[in-house]
């Protein structure tokens, strides 16, 4: 099975050096969403202060296969609260 690497930048950088074996790209996409969901749930509220959250998924040649990005934008009505 191919190995996929899930590199995350969410205020601190996490380079996935180990990777995870998954059946195919569809499996990698599914795993990425599951991982992102867990991380976003755990994460400190940096996302609400404009910190960009990025997950870059690569193959074992470090070729980027897809990227997930999350940005939270507060509307003016919140007055920065």
């Amino acid at each position: 099975m191919p190995r996929y690497y899930f590199h995350v930048s969410d205020g601190q950088r996490f380079d996935d050096l180990q990777g995870t074996e998954l059946p195919d790209l569809a499996g990698a996409r599914k795993e990425a969403l599951r991982f992102a969901s867990g991380l976003l749930t755990d994460t400190k509220p940096d996302l609400w202060t404009g910190e960009e959250w990025t997950m870059r998924v690569t193959d074992d040649t470090d070729l980027t296969l897809f990227t997930l990005m999350f940005v939270a934008t507060n509307a003016a009505a919140t007055n920065g609260k």
Partner: protein, 242 residues
């Protein structure tokens, strides 16, 4: 997959340690528990532990290896409901307890011995074996309590706390059966198994363990976990529970 029945010396020593950790056992009770058992069944990693009955092994005791109670969804995703260690009992599904009806899978090579005869002796002489009987009842309550804790872990705890509390639980359980050396204990679980147990993706498990190691809370080497900072690990588990 049915395991292979073999003749090999086994005893209920680990179960005896678990029972003795709750109640001081009488000499007669120790004698019953430490009686040599010659029939055991071996299972390879990944195989289902489902004793066929008829040979006194529908109820059994894990004497070596790790297993899990599992639910496998239609999509093939495995949810590990609880981890079974040496010294843990597997009940007879026919007795109607929900926990005993769940599929049990060997996570490593596992060896079991039948306990039907033992249970029959204990239940047949309640006065003589009263502390064993009360201990067995407490062990079942402990199984259920751990399952409730696990539901809370899965439902409301962030990943670092899930892993920290799970490691601490395994440490405590291994200590009772004498598997802890210093502050380390064996943990033959892959990150995939941890993910299956804790409802996390494999990469998420990888990331949290990476952080726990970087923070010098735990270290992993050769299938063993060492708790380098027990207070810090416990604080992590508790601090994040709010």
């Amino acid at each position: 997959m049915q395991g292979n029945l073999r003749n090999a010396f086994c005893s209920m020593e680990l179960l005896a340690h678990r029972l003795a950790s709750m109640n001081a056992l009488s000499a007669v009770e120790w004698e019953l528990l430490l009686e040599p058992r010659h029939s055991s069944r071996a299972y390879s990693a990944g195989s289902e532990i489902r004793d066929p009955g008829g040979d006194g092994m529908r109820q059994s005791l894990i004497v070596s290896g790790w297993a899990s109670r599992e639910h496998v969804s239609h999509s093939g995703r495995r949810q590990l409901l609880s981890i079974l260690l040496p010294g843990d009992l597997i009940g007879d599904p026919a007795e109607g307890h929900a926990l005993d009806a769940v599929e049990i899978v060997a996570l490593s090579g596992v060896r079991t011995i039948g306990t039907a005869g033992f249970m029959s002796i204990v239940n047949g002489d309640a006065d003589r074996y009263s502390r064993i009987a009360s201990g067995l009842s407490a062990l079942r309550c402990g199984d259920e309590t751990r399952l409730l804790d696990h539901i809370v872990r899965l439902g409301s705890q962030p990943a670092p706390q899930r892993i920290a509390s799970f490691v601490l639980e395994l440490f405590a359980r291994c200590r009772v059966i004498g598997f802890v050396t210093g502050s380390s204990f064996p943990m033959p679980l892959t990150q995939e198994m941890l993910g299956g147990a804790l409802g996390l993706s494999v990469v998420h498990v990888n990331r949290v363990i990476h952080r726990l190691k970087a923070d010098r809370l735990i270290s992993l080497q050769g299938g063993r976990v060492t708790i380098d900072d027990a207070i810090g690990l416990a604080s992590l588990a508790e601090l994040m529970s709010g």
